[in-house]
């Protein structure tokens, strides 16, 4: 008896949890995959660092609904991203496109790496020279 009641409670609890989750019906598994991917690539404008697919903010829910609507209407991923950028700026893109403004952002890591490499090579040459000089003196 107690077991039945417990099971009933457990079921009721799990049902209420399910009710809170948004349900979207997709035409194909590919469409669903694109929805998930876009939810992962678009950034919630209200949050500090969360994707819209990962955020409980009201605005993220609205943007997910918008992505879903556009997917259903047959929009391409690029069209959906352009739509979001036109409204929320490039902030919404987790992966900013390469152009004049983002040049430093994209290439500074490579630049720093090369600079570090040059410094290391210089340092090695220097110590090698010092070593050789030391040997020739001995």
């Amino acid at each position: 008896m107690i077991k039945t009641i417990l099971v009933a409670f457990a079921l009721a609890a799990s049902m209420s949890v399910h009710a809170a989750i948004e349900t979207y019906q997709f035409d194909s598994p590919e469409q669903e995959a694109r929805f998930r991917q876009l939810g992962y690539e678009l950034r919630c404008p209200k949050c500090q660092n969360q994707a819209i697919g990962d955020s409980d903010a009201e605005i993220s829910g609205d943007l997910r609904a918008e992505v879903y609507r556009m997917l259903k209407e047959g929009a391409t991923d690029a069209e959906i991203k352009d739509f979001m950028v036109a409204r929320y700026g490039r902030y919404v893109l987790y992966s900013p496109p390469l152009d004049k403004q983002t040049l430093v952002l994209w290439f500074s890591p490579v630049g720093l790496f090369v600079l570090g490499g040059i410094l290391v090579v210089l340092r090695i040459r220097q110590s090698k020279k010092a070593l050789e000089e030391g040997e020739s003196q001995a």
């Binding site: 404008p45 209200k46 500090q48 929320y88 700026g89």
Partner: protein, 172 residues
């Protein structure tokens, strides 16, 4: 060469301090709006109070503030007295965002209605087109309907004198 190397860490440190110092005064919640320099998006929505159909063409033909608010938004209540005061100086157009008609009307009845017109946007469609991330947000729009400034969060005396007023003088 070696002398230079001694000073290098200090130089790097100074540059980092510079960046961090700048970072202290930046507000990460403040994002540039994608709509600066763009006209207010086209819309066809009703006026909350009169039920009249409103469109972009009916917006004031002088610089005005477009204030995005909702009855569920606490900060909107906080800024409301200040907006009421501002409305004596320039038109303030309301955009009632993702709200219900009854709640919004009750709110205006209780706190006063300084708005020149009240765009009722229960679905948040116009809000989305404006790039609104939450309420309150306030846009400064010029006489030809172009957006010049976005304020995220409360409008108060400090925000007005530091941000709105200088831009207002430029577009007038």
């Amino acid at each position: 060469m070696n002398r230079l190397m001694v000073w290098l860490p200090l130089g790097v440190f100074a540059i980092l301090v510079g960046f961090f110092f700048k970072g202290l005064t930046l507000d990460p919640r403040e994002q540039p709006s994608a709509l600066i320099g763009q006209p207010v998006p086209a819309f066809e929505l009703t006026d909350l109070n009169t039920g009249q159909l409103l469109s972009r063409e009916m917006l004031p033909k002088e610089p005005f503030l477009l204030n995005v608010w909702a009855s569920w938004c606490i900060t909107c209540q906080v800024e409301h007295p200040y907006l009421t005061k501002l409305s004596e100086q320039m038109p303030v157009v309301g955009l009632n965002y993702k709200d219900t008609e009854t709640a919004a009307k009750n709110w205006l009845q209780k706190l006063g209605d300084p708005y020149a017109m009240q765009i009722f946007d229960p679905s948040g469609r116009l809000g989305l087109d404006l790039g609104v991330a939450g309420a309150p947000e306030t846009f400064l729009v010029d006489s030809s309907g172009v957006i010049h400034l976005r304020i995220q969060g409360e409008v108060n005396d400090r925000v007005f004198t530091q941000k709105i007023q200088p831009m207002l003088e430029m577009i007038q």
